[in-house]
Amino acid sequence: MASQEIRAAVKDYIMEEFLPGEDPATVSDSTALLSEGILDSIATIKLAAWLEDHYGIELEAHEMSVDNLDSIAAIAAIVTSKLEARG
């Protein structure tokens, strides 16, 4: 699955679920979502659960960190690496 496709799907989910009504242009692929408080810790957990369901991957506890989930680009990167590892 192309990274661009994953970015788009993740963004759609985040906009719909956590930022309804918000102009999608305000969130770029590199916008810091967690460290700037745009998504809170509960939203992060829901996001991780959605990623697992949607992509059939499993995130380890240590992978659910700000480093891996702070931006749409970072999220797409970890999803891509999980999908590649699965083969």
Binding site: L19, E22, D23, T26, V27, T31, E36, G37, I38, D40, S41, I42, T44, I45, A49, L59, E60, A61, H62, M64, S65, V66
Partner: protein, 515 residues
């Protein structure tokens, strides 16, 4: 100075069990610290504090992520007869700088780049990092003197009431306020815990709450008093529900203490069934109402430990408690009966005790109650209800009623404070922060409850510019003023705010329009 102090608890355990594991950092490859190691690290920090001239009556800010070294720093400060002020490393630097100045810190202990930012904000001269020979630190510990004058910052405390720590909580006037606890009030609480929970040296305690949160007092001092082990769970790790059950299993934690929010997340998102948590013998929770559905699910998952609901604002430590009977809870969970060191009354708005079973405000006097708010003598005086008996009763602001058997039920709040994930949030402080933003003319915040029983904060904002800002932009701006747990979940841009007959904001109308 007379009487016992918190550091005496550590000293006894160091003497009795020098080689027992005192502190374990969850998720860290470093070794456990024995009681001897902890005492040695505290002594190394103490030497530097002494050099700086920290002594009785001073305050020292601790700007450290939860770690073995942070615990050593707390004890080093106490050992000098000073009070520690834990600074939330995740909070905006501007807020921390305000706190540091408010309580006139004599010195600061910190590490890592975040500390540099605070030092720069405070305009202090950065000092070279000192190698204290402490192992396992991600960053070298830095200790520096503020050089601020002492004259303006004196706590007026009666003799024998030496201050141990100041915890800053959300303040209704727009700035945080420092709750002062003495060694005596902290020890009254710690000793009560010993009586009712009977900790043993074999126990392994969780330390989930950050040190700036009052739940940490039980974790730290009760565990170390009894020569038990304390598993330090850092802020980042602690927010990840999937990390928690494996930590319980790995370290064989027997006494767990956290907010209901964390236990709910652990239960529903933490895959608890994959970990062996049978080491738990006691599960304690405090800080907010536990939604019954979540509580019952947790107890079905883990039926073996004792469970207790602990209640008390930061100002009183824990002042009521309720041990859960076996089986599912079907009616409202009580906050329980008043703890032995304290006395509690339920009073009407004029301060008269209400008839049995009637609703009123809970007021608390006794051993565990704070000494007042730092540098706010009038607010401190106003926080207490003076009764004919001469005793000052702290007004909790919580409305309660006796359900008929001496067990109190929480009914609601007298004012505009809400609990969000266990943290106190004064809606007025959010409004004040919003109003500090240039384009905001007026703002109001209300608390709503979602389908899962969690608190949601909605802000209504009168915006002066033609176009309202993006949600992302306003959250970022507000995030420079407030800790993340205080950021509103949603914003509504309005032309004006509804007012009542007294020209005050009509919050009830906002709650109706907002939901």
């Amino acid at each position: 100075m007379s009487g016992r102090r918190l550091q005496d608890l550590l000293a006894s355990s160091v003497a009795a069990r020098p080689d027992a594991a005192a502190l374990i950092e969850a998720g860290s490859p470093g070794p456990a610290w024995s009681y001897r190691d902890l005492a040695a690290a505290a002594a190394a920090i103490d030497a530097v504090l002494a050099e700086i001239g920290v002594g009785p009556g001073d305050r020292v800010g601790i700007h450290l992520a939860k770690s073995q070294a942070a615990v050593a720093a707390l004890f080093a400060v106490l050992g000098r007869g000073a009070a520690y002020v834990p600074l939330d490393v995740t909070a905006p630097v501007s807020r921390l700088a305000w706190v540091a100045r408010d309580c006139g810190l004599r010195a600061l202990v910190g590490a890592a780049p975040a500390f540099e930012a605070l030092v720069a904000e405070l305009d202090l001269v950065p000092t070279a990092a000192r190698d204290l020979g402490l192992s396992g630190l991600a960053e070298p510990l830095k200790i520096l003197a503020s050089g601020w004058s002492e004259a303006d910052h004196r706590a007026e405390l009666p003799a024998g009431e030496e201050l141990a720590y100041i915890l800053y909580t959300s303040g209704s006037t727009g700035r945080p306020k420092g709750v002062m606890h003495s060694h005596r009030s902290a020890l009254a609480f710690v000793d009560w815990c010993s009586e009712v929970f009977e900790p043993r040296p074999e126990d392994v305690f969780s330390s989930h709450a950050p040190f700036h949160f009052d739940l940490s007092i039980l974790d730290l001092y009760v565990s170390l008093k009894h020569g038990a082990s304390l598993v330090l769970i850092g802020e980042e790790l602690g927010k990840q529900p999937r990390a928690l059950a494996p930590i319980i299993a790995e370290h064989r934690i027997s006494i767990w203490y956290s907010t209901p929010s964390i236990l709910s997340l652990l239960c529903f998102y933490g895959r608890p069934e994959r970990s062996d948590c049978t080491s738990l013998r006691l599960v304690l929770f405090a800080g907010e109402v536990f939604p019954l559905k979540n509580l019952n699910a947790l107890r079905e998952l883990w039926p073996w430990p004792r469970y207790a609901n602990l209640y008390g604002p930061t100002e009183t430590n824990v002042c009521t408690w309720y041990e859960l009977p076996e089986g599912p809870i079907t009616a409202d969970l009580p906050i329980g009966a008043v703890c032995a060191p304290d006395r509690g009354l339920v009073v009407d708005p004029e301060g008269r005790v209400v008839a049995a079973g009637e609703e009123g405000e809970l007021v608390i006097a006794g051993g565990t109650v704070m000494k007042g708010y730092w540098n706010l003598p009038e607010r401190s005086a106003g926080a207490f209800l003076e009764l004919d008996t001469g005793a000052g009763y702290y007004r909790t602001g919580d409305l309660v009623r006796d359900r008929g058997d001496g067990q109190l039920l929480f009914v609601g709040r007298r004012d505009r404070m809400v609990k969000r994930r266990g943290y106190r949030v004064e809606l007025g402080e959010i409004e004040a922060a919003l109003c500090r933003l240039d384009e905001v003319y007026e703002a109001a915040a209300v608390a709503l409850v979602d389908a899962e029983g969690a608190t949601l904060i909605r802000a209504f904002v009168v915006w002066r510019a033609p176009e309202p800002p993006a949600l992302v932009a306003i959250k970022k701006a507000l995030g420079r003023e407030l800790p993340l747990y205080m950021l509103p979940d949603s914003f509504v841009w309005v032309e004006n705010l509804p007012k009542n007959a007294n020209d005050k904001i009509d919050y009830e109308a906002l709650k109706r329009t907002g939901s």
